[in-house]
Symmetry: C2
Subunit: 177 residues, 2 copies
DNA sequence: TAAACTGTCGAACGTTTGTTAGATTAATTC
DNA sequence: GAATTAATCTAACAAACGTTCGACAGTTTA
């Protein structure tokens, strides 16, 4: 078997274990309350070993945040892309919202960690995550601007504000459990 | 002037300064990221002095959380109590929601700190805050159970779930700014 | 088999954490 | 004005923090 195809697996697996542990811990305890020793223990290694895969705690949390948004983005995009362009507004929005919720509750830790810790992460990390965040907001803005959606809504409605209300409400359901 | 009427003021003022500083810091940075030295500095004193007024950091955050909910509770209660018992459902709910929002954005730090840090606070603190929290939830449950509100809603609607959605959405507006 | 590379460990670093305790100043009481 | 009390400060504590680094075993390459 080709060595280049098997050997990269080890490091990548450790990396993934670190991210998984970090996402789960951040989600339930917050960013500052989770130590690198906690993360390492969750990934079955010692604190020093983590630094073979990541340069800092901030680098870990940034990747967790990015993965969390990317997951929701991909799910929503994939869902609405499977529908015809002229799908009625209510069915289109319902599908998008459901995809968002499903990701939040099934691909649990990364996406919900993002919702919960975003505000309390170092400003530098927040800025670095903003690009991914804006990409997702753009997706919803495009959905809301489709003609059949605009026709279904009161014309004076602020679409950006509607998008904020929509995503905010979906994320707020995390508190239900 | 009676001595007992003036002298308690000093300690109470320091206590209030500590709580104000803590609420503001918790709100913007989270619970674990704020040190007692940060809080003390925000209250114009040194870390050791804080312990004259509070036994621990947890005692401070608990009081911040309790005040935060009590403020929203009192505002909403006061607002709806001023309305006639048979106020139409839409006006009643609108008034309650507006009171909630207004407190969140004007009596800013305590209430919004509560929304933001509740999930990441030590479990013991969360349990201690639950009493106050349930008191506020009960207030909304009572509003939603008034006859004119029940009539305005689909009868199969789960009122507890509606209350969760309602409060959750209102709190989510904090992300808008 | 020797050499090189991968991934993890153990121990230490300087800093910061929550908290305690004794000294010290400011205010009140007698 | 002396004695008490109230409130703050200074300095220290042990523990935990993020991070660094040299040693080391396991695997891959030559």
């Amino acid at each position: 078997m080709s060595p280049a195809a098997t050997s990269p697996a080890k490091a990548d697996l450790s990396r993934a274990r670190i991210l998984d542990a970090a996402a789960a811990l951040f989600r339930e305890r917050g960013y500052s309350a989770v130590s690198l020793r906690d993360i390492a223990a969750g990934a079955d290694m010692k604190a020093g070993s983590v630094y073979y895969h990541f340069a800092s705690k901030e680098e870990i949390v940034l990747e967790v945040l990015n993965i969390g948004i990317a997951a929701v983005h991909d799910q929503v995009l994939q869902t609405v892309a499977a529908l015809p362009e002229d799908t009625p507004a209510d069915r289109l929005l319902r599908a998008g919202m459901l995809a968002h919720l499903r990701t939040l509750f099934e691909f649990n830790d990364y996406s919900s960690a993002n919702v919960r810790i975003y505000h309390h992460v170092p400003e530098e990390v927040r800025r670095a995550n903003a690009t991914e965040r804006r990409r997702y907001e753009r997706l919803w803005d495009q959905l809301l601007q489709r003609p059949q959606v605009r026709e279904a809504l009161r014309p004076e409605l602020d679409l950006k504000l509607l998008r904020l209300l929509l995503i905010g409400s979906l994320n707020a359901t995390l508190d239900w459990f």
